[in-house]
């Protein structure tokens, strides 16, 4: 799996979105396992089918992304959109999108248990990396309307809310 992840950086997201593999400690895999072994102990999945799915992972990641402008437009029309911020509390307190929620265990439980798997959910991070993982995690739990803000809040600050302060982490 180490080689698979190195060659296809989005593989873990692809695996969890469709097959619920690699998302948390209960369904994790070892870097030393082969893909065939992972497929075998997850209900005897077809290795070729899984491989084809992994190979298209980059393309699938791109479909999840929503641009800052598109999100801004969507928020004006659809008040049901839930924005979840996966950054640290410190970052969230410094700058955030109005109406967004910082991800916590309580928020996680609300999302998983609010009885709707179609409510729009947009994940926000700093620059667009961890957000994709979080979006895949929610999709792997059956949520059907999940997007990730392309470029994170940093892109939002450049393309939509230009008064928002940009920052870097060190």
């Amino acid at each position: 799996m180490r080689d698979v992840l190195e060659k296809f950086p989005g593989a873990q997201r692809a695996l969890f979105r469709r097959y619920h593999i690699g998302g948390c400690s209960s369904c994790g895999f070892s870097p030393d396992e082969t893909l065939a072994h992972v497929c075998e102990r997850n209900g005897g999945l077809d290795v070729n089918e899984v491989l084809a799915h992994i190979q298209s992972s980059h393309e699938q990641d791109a479909k999840i992304l929503i641009s800052p402008k598109e999100l801004a437009d969507t928020l004006k029309e659809d008040k049901s959109v839930r924005i979840v911020d996966v950054r640290s509390r410190d970052e969230f307190e410094v700058v955030r999108i109005e109406g967004s929620q910082l991800l916590s265990q309580d928020v996680m439980r609300q999302i998983m248990g609010d009885g709707s798997n179609t409510r729009p959910l947009v994940v926000v991070d700093h620059q667009g990396k961890q957000g994709l993982d979080a979006a895949a995690y929610f999709m792997g739990h059956g949520l059907q309307n999940v997007r990730c803000l392309r470029g994170g809040i940093d892109a939002w600050a450049q393309e939509v809310d230009t008064g928002m302060r940009r920052y870097k982490l060190s």
């Binding site: 799996m1 180490r2 992840l5 873990q12 997201r13 969890f16 979105r17 469709r18 097959y19 619920h20 593999i21 690699g22 998302g23 948390c24 400690s25 209960s26 369904c27 994790g28 895999f29 070892s30 870097p31 030393d32 396992e33 102990r41 997850n42 209900g43 999945l45 996966v86 950054r87 640290s88 410190d90 970052e91 410094v94 991800l103 265990q105 996680m108 439980r109 998983m112 248990g113 009885g115 798997n117 991070d125 961890q130 957000g131 993982d133 979080a134 895949a136 995690y137 792997g140 739990h141 059956g142 008064g163 302060r165 940009r166 920052y167 870097k168 982490l169 060190s170």
Partner: protein, 158 residues
């Protein structure tokens, strides 16, 4: 997920059975952990029936997905009156009961219930990659506490 399965899960979720902590339980089993947002804990109380130790009642608490809650609800009903051995012999798909065959992405949710049951009844807990170091998970990527990180602004206040 097909509409029929989603409907059955929604029905089970609308009126979940045996949810919550069981006072004076004889056994408790946990799988996963609440820090990662996916955890299922099961409490079991036994009784004596014709000289046999059988499960009188089982309850659960879940921080997992709705499928895990639906399966746990059905499974805790199903194991009532069974001996620990009989309950442990149930396969994952049997625990899911009337939900029927689960799609691959949902099998893990039922395995969470099976793992908690095994943990409670003293059997081996199912560990996906036992004996090997686990690779970082998606959850690790976005939910681990981010400590010691300093925020530096790139510009002057506007």
């Amino acid at each position: 997920m097909n509409d029929d399965l989603q409907k059955k899960i929604s029905e089970a979720i609308a009126n979940p059975q045996n949810m919550g902590e069981l006072a004076n339980a004889d056994a408790v089993g946990t799988v996963g952990n609440s820090d990662c947002g996916e955890m299922l804990r099961m409490w079991v109380k036994f009784k004596d029936e014709n000289g046999k130790k059988v499960i009188d009642r089982a309850t659960f608490q879940s921080f997992g997905c709705e499928t895990a809650i639906a399966v746990a609800s059905l499974a805790t009903e199903l194991i009532r009156g069974k001996t620990p051995g009989e309950a442990l012999s149930l396969k994952t798909e049997e625990l899911a009961g009337e939900l029927g065959p689960l799609p691959p992405m949902k099998i893990h949710c039922a395995q969470l219930v099976e793992g908690a049951l095994r943990s409670a009844l003293g059997g081996e807990e199912t560990k996906p990659a036992s004996g090997q170091t686990a690779a970082p998970t998606l959850l690790d990527s976005f939910s681990k506490p981010k400590e010691g990180v300093r925020i530096t602004f790139l510009d002057e206040p506007k």
